[in-house]
Symmetry: C2
Subunit: 150 residues, 2 copies
């Protein structure tokens, strides 16, 4: 597998019109301003959006609880890597550092991104995956930020 | 605070008609068949439902990821306690045992229940909270299981 990984930033969560109605996507952007979309579930979209806007919910959301657990166990998310695209499904992993070492957890990109934003962790995409997923910025024209739907 | 806690089982997730349309509730039941409802979010309802029906999703859901993290850190959820009802909002906590001891995390009941079912952990409700929340079984008549909506 190609070893090159690309650091990306999370540009935002948008609603894109599909044949089944508007669907949430998270948009990742690399340093050359190339963008790639990942379709995600609505609750993950809301969780990512609230992390981007630094909203503090009245009660901890599931991803906040995950971060609390990590903190209580003196661990943190060092980085996340979106490293595979298979039949339209993205695979990702959390890279976690604890007192006793380093380990990885298989996870969905949406969970990884929601957690990485809360933990201020780096986000990487495997180069071959980014190349497959990249879209033109024009494809995003007309897409509304998810906040327009809230 | 009253120290009595009541062991309960998770009877299921239902949709109850409200003024704003159908809303998901999880129903808890004690050994005397008394029941209490907790209104929860849709994604948490789906997560609880999939744990009850032992569905294995193609990719790990957020609560599955939480359990993976606990396992990798040699920790487990010993029990959960729903221990406060304040202005219509329930408060709960996860009781976690790790190699180095025991600690609690503040969490929403819906997250606690979704996790407890996956970890086969005991579920407790503070007696005073159960007494405030208990409903008649007739109140549940006509409520459909969430699977009718899927």
């Amino acid at each position: 597998m190609n070893g090159i990984t690309i650091p990306v930033s999370i540009r935002g969560v948008y609603m894109i019109e599909t044949a089944h109605g508007p669907a949430p996507v998270v948009i990742l952007e690399d340093k050359s301003s190339r963008i790639m979309p990942i379709y995600i579930g609505l609750s993950e979209a809301l969780s990512i959006h609230s992390a981007i806007t630094h909203e503090v919910p009245p009660r901890p959301m599931t991803h906040d609880l995950f971060i609390s657990l990590l903190e209580r166990m003196h661990s943190k998310i060092e980085s996340i890597l979106i490293d595979e695209l298979n039949d339209g499904v993205y695979f990702a992993r959390l890279n976690i550092v604890s007192d006793t070492g380093h380990f990885e957890l298989d996870a969905r990109p949406s969970d990884c991104i929601a957690l990485a934003l809360r933990a201020a962790s780096s986000v990487f995409v495997r180069g071959t995956v980014f190349d497959q997923a990249v879209i033109n910025k024009e494809d995003l024209k007309g897409a509304l930020g998810i906040s327009s739907y809230l």
